[in-house]
């Protein structure tokens, strides 16, 4: 009888794996099928590097949006990653137990707040602050970067914390036994050891920042021109989809799915870069 149960469990896990993978493949194929024709028609080069986006005249160039996405995501990473990792170190190493019990649900709460609430909160506070102190319309790359940084914090913090806590106790004790102080232990032993978890966390966080739509629609200004400074309004690939998809049809809708393909490729590059780092160690 036991052998039957072994086979059964193996089968069930296999069926779950097979159906999940086929569903994931289905959505990938769907996006490609919906987006590829327009890229073929417009030509990959002038689709990706075309400067003019105006679907009503049949012009589909998304280069300004690529610049927008890259600049906003880099800004968000520059702000979010260091703060996120500091917090995960704080939670794993420094926080007194009582505070950790409070902090962790608070972080999960931060993850739960809907992105539109962030967008609206940003619109009411961050945008006027930038408008008054830095000039320009306030709707800018900076505003988007701040909002996205706040939104990616929970992902980066919670997953890096798990990988820090999962480290075997001997790592920390060994380092302390060698006379390193707490910070040196963290910096030279714990962080390198937990690097794969932290890199995974950063990638997931950046992935979420790249994929965020609703929050940034409200704070980026969504201008289709290439931004000249971080105070200029900008449109990212996701906001381009988010804004126009409701009204788009025919070729315009295909162009937005093609934007989805470009996003997918960017995220694939991000992940392979992350895998390269973790494997190189």
């Amino acid at each position: 009888m036991k052998k039957f149960k072994e086979k059964l469990s193996g089968r069930i896990f296999f069926i779950f794996a097979l159906s999940s993978i086929s569903v994931l493949a289905l959505i990938t194929v769907f996006i490609i099928v919906k987006g590829a024709p327009i890229i073929a028609k417009v030509g990959f080069f002038n689709f990706v590097f075309g400067m003019k986006w105006s679907p009503s005249q049949g012009e589909f160039g998304i280069f300004p949006m690529i610049i927008g996405s890259v600049s906003v995501t880099l800004g968000a990473a520059a702000l979010g990653v260091p703060i996120g990792i500091c917090c995960s170190i704080f939670l794993a190493e420094f926080a007194p137990a009582k505070m950790r019990e409070f902090f962790r649900p608070a972080i999960q709460l931060l993850a739960g707040i809907p992105s539109v609430v962030y967008g609206f909160w940003g619109l009411l506070f961050i945008v006027p602050f930038i408008r008054n102190f830095f000039g320009g319309p306030g709707l800018s790359i900076l505003a988007g970067a701040i909002i996205l940084a706040i939104m990616t914090l929970p992902t980066i913090i919670s997953i890096s914390e798990v990988s820090l806590l999962a480290l075997p106790r001997q790592y920390k004790e060994g380092a302390l036994a060698l006379g390193l102080n707490h910070w040196q232990t963290i910096w030279s032993v714990l962080l390198p050891a937990a690097k794969s978890g932290i890199v995974a966390a950063v990638i997931l966080g950046i992935g979420r920042a790249v994929g965020e739509t609703m929050a940034v629609i409200m704070v980026l200004g969504n201008a289709v021109a290439v931004p000249l400074s971080i105070l200029d309004p900008v449109r990212t690939l996701t906001t381009n989809i988010g804004i126009e998809m409701g009204y788009a049809s025919g070729e315009h809708q295909q162009a937005l799915f093609a934007t989805g393909i470009v996003l997918f490729v960017i995220i694939m590059l991000l992940n392979s870069f992350a895998q390269y780092i973790t494997r190189k160690r």
């Binding site: 149960k5 072994e6 469990s9 069930i12 896990f13 296999f14 069926i15 779950f16 794996a17 999940s20 569903v23 994931l24 959505i27 769907f30 996006i31 703060i83 500091c86 917090c87 420094f94 926080a95 902090f103 962790r104 608070a106 972080i107 999960q108 709460l109 993850a111 739960g112 707040i113 809907p114 992105s115 539109v116 609430v117 609206f120 706040i150 929970p154 798990v162 990988s163 075997p168 102080n181 707490h182 040196q184 963290i186 978890g197 997931l204 992935g207 994929g211 739509t213 609703m214 989809i241 988010g242 998809m245 799915f257 989805g260 996003l263 997918f264 995220i267 991000l270 992940n271 392979s272």
Partner: protein, 278 residues
């Protein structure tokens, strides 16, 4: 070298403590602002009546029910498939090209903008499968959206269980299934639940993927096939269309409270589950 390492230690400690407090302040600022503006709106009527007059008056009852149902459908479908896949990848397959490709594609799909999931759901579930705008379409779309995240976080948790636990369990005459259930799963449960709580949080907070699939109807849903408007979508329409800021803040405050409750209950379940498991 001695003195500056001690100074380095102090600076680092100060830096980390201040960053953590800064994040705490930011979190409190966001939720406090929403709660201060929203809590006065929440009373028995707000919770039990359905929205009227374009959302200017009446409560949000139908959106609360809508949110819970859509998220429940998503989690019930995504959890077994997600965790099952994670166990299959971590335990049943040798580290090969296929597993790396699957892990890689799961990670990439976790990054896909939810607006694209929304449109996939709209065209596949709503139109092709003729499920129409409904809790089921919304739930299925969300299930597919959170599936990669659950697979990734569960697998990360399973792989972080020390390999030696499996060897000990096998050496004590355990079968593969018993080793997974009795040795691997109890140690991985915290990581897995972490992933599920993140996914529940993300589904409750989702707007783009749900507006095109679950719809934005204000009536109380009667079955899995009736359309519904989730609280996040309700907030988005009220705030964006400038219909009623007060009700928008009320809905947002309620949403934050709901998410807080989900986290507290989930953590309690995990601790009890782990305590019993020990």
């Amino acid at each position: 070298m001695k003195t500056n390492s001690r100074a380095g230690e102090k600076i680092a400690k100060l830096l980390i403590w201040s960053t953590a407090l800064f994040v705490l302040v930011v979190l409190v600022a966001i939720s406090a602002y929403i709660l201060i503006k929203g809590l006065p709106r929440i009373n028995w009527h707000f919770l039990t009546e359905i929205p009227r007059n374009m959302g200017r008056s009446g409560g949000v009852a139908s959106t609360i029910v809508g949110t819970l149902l859509v998220t429940a459908v998503a989690i019930i479908i995504a959890m077994p498939f997600g965790i099952g896949t994670a166990f299959y990848l971590a335990e049943y397959t040798k580290e090969s090209m296929i597993t790396r490709i699957i892990r890689f594609s799961a990670e990439s799909l976790a990054g896909i903008p939810s607006i694209v999931y929304g449109l996939f759901g709209f065209i596949f579930f709503v139109i092709y499968l003729n499920l129409g705008w409904s809790i089921l379409s919304g739930g299925l779309t969300l299930a597919i959206m959170i599936l990669p995240t659950i697979i990734r976080t569960s697998e990360e948790a399973i792989l972080s269980v020390p390999k030696v636990y499996r060897e000990v369990s096998f050496s004590l005459g355990g079968t593969k299934w018993q080793t997974i259930i009795k040795a691997v799963f109890p140690s991985a449960i915290r990581g897995i639940t972490n992933g599920i709580i993140l996914s529940v949080g993300r589904s409750v907070a989702e707007t783009a993927a749900v507006i095109y699939t679950a719809g934005s109807a204000l009536r109380m849903p009667v079955s899995l096939f009736s359309p519904t408007r989730t609280m996040a979508v309700h907030f988005y329409i009220l705030a964006r269309e400038g219909i009623s800021l007060e009700n928008a803040y009320g809905t947002a405050a309620l949403l934050i409270i709901l998410i807080f409750l989900i986290n507290v209950v989930a953590n309690m379940l995990v601790n009890r589950f782990i305590a019993k498991g020990r």
